[in-house]
Symmetry: C2
Subunit: 203 residues, 2 copies
């Protein structure tokens, strides 16, 4: 399987953490690509017209995206403990928490595009404030839901951990840890898992 990859992308990191947790990382052929909304990578575009990483090209069948689809696909391929609960309230909570984490990332990355990609004269402070308000409110919900993350390593808690690590990587001044020390303690422990140590961002 070929995985279009960026070492700085938190959506990619979700996928590689899942691959490590499920014993499948060695089976992935990583193809490092950089792409942005204004500078799309033509090789990624062939597999995924949305020109986003991660995109997974399985040995058979169509290319898969986005990260929730790839993560669930990988989780279907192994016989160990599943990261996606099969049914019932555990499944909906895990998927909701994955969506919460992805929503943190979506807002944080729109913020980053605004301050790094967009020409300085065209930046809009209301947009930045709106995106960061989403990030902060989502972290507060994560802190209230901490018991669920402590209870299970699943796609929900894993996604939240990756999102918080991304904030630490790109927004070190946000200091959400001061406001949410219990969440910070859980995250620090999660970040010591081998799957997280093996996938620390760069670039």
């Amino acid at each position: 399987m070929k995985l279009y990859f960026s070492p700085a992308s938190p959506y990619v990191r979700k996928v590689t953490v899942v691959a490590h947790e499920t014993g499948q990382f060695a089976g992935l052929e990583l193809v490092t690509e950089r792409s942005s909304p204004v500078n799309p990578n033509p090789e990624v575009a062939v597999a995924n017209p949305l020109v986003k990483v991660p995109t997974l090209v399985p040995d058979a069948g169509p290319a898969l995206f986005d990260s929730p689809v790839i993560c669930e696909y990988l989780d279907s391929l192994h016989d160990g403990a599943k990261l996606f609960p099969a049914a019932g309230s555990a499944r909906w909570l895990a998927l909701r928490n994955q969506a919460l984490a992805d929503g943190i990332l979506d807002a944080a990355i729109l913020y980053r595009y605004e301050i790094t990609l967009r020409p300085e004269a065209l930046r809009w402070s209301d947009w930045l404030d709106g995106q960061m308000a989403k990030v902060n409110a989502a972290i507060a919900l994560a802190a209230r839901d901490l018991d669920a993350y402590r209870a299970a390593v699943d796609i929900g808690s894993l996604s939240i951990a990756v999102a918080l690590s991304y904030l630490d990587y790109r927004f070190p001044d946000l200091d959400w840890q001061a406001t949410h020390p219990d969440l910070a303690a859980w995250h620090a422990a999660f970040a010591r898992r081998p799957s997280m140590k093996a996938t620390e961002p760069s670039g």
Copy 2:
């Protein structure tokens, strides 16, 4: 169940089309809300810190989002033909096509924010071009995958139909139909389904 709703949101429409297709629309209490990244709605924010519609508040359990999670949850609650294939290649193709459709919408809505929400002096043509290139490339993939949509009404084909309808609603000059007449014929037939007629956008 309470559904935070906007009559113009295509992500909401995915959910309401699923609710109609699965005989559950009458059980939804629709709460109409308007929200944008720079003008978040405080009532939605209580249920969903990302302040996005659709957000579903079930009779028991936490609020659910985003639209793929809500659609799969609703599909778990009825005994009829399922819109989410349970397993295997049919599932991955359907989920991939839902992600393709959602990616069309994500790009189209970022385009809309740029030309309607952002002050005119701060708009960036490269951003608009990049988002529209994603939309056009994704439509081209949809046209190549048409046999899969013809084969099944599932979350994949349903999402593609809703995304194309959104383009017709907000980007009538795009005229993707001229380039992809077979996809257009399929879409026109899908749009005559009662679930689609009952959920036409407004506002």
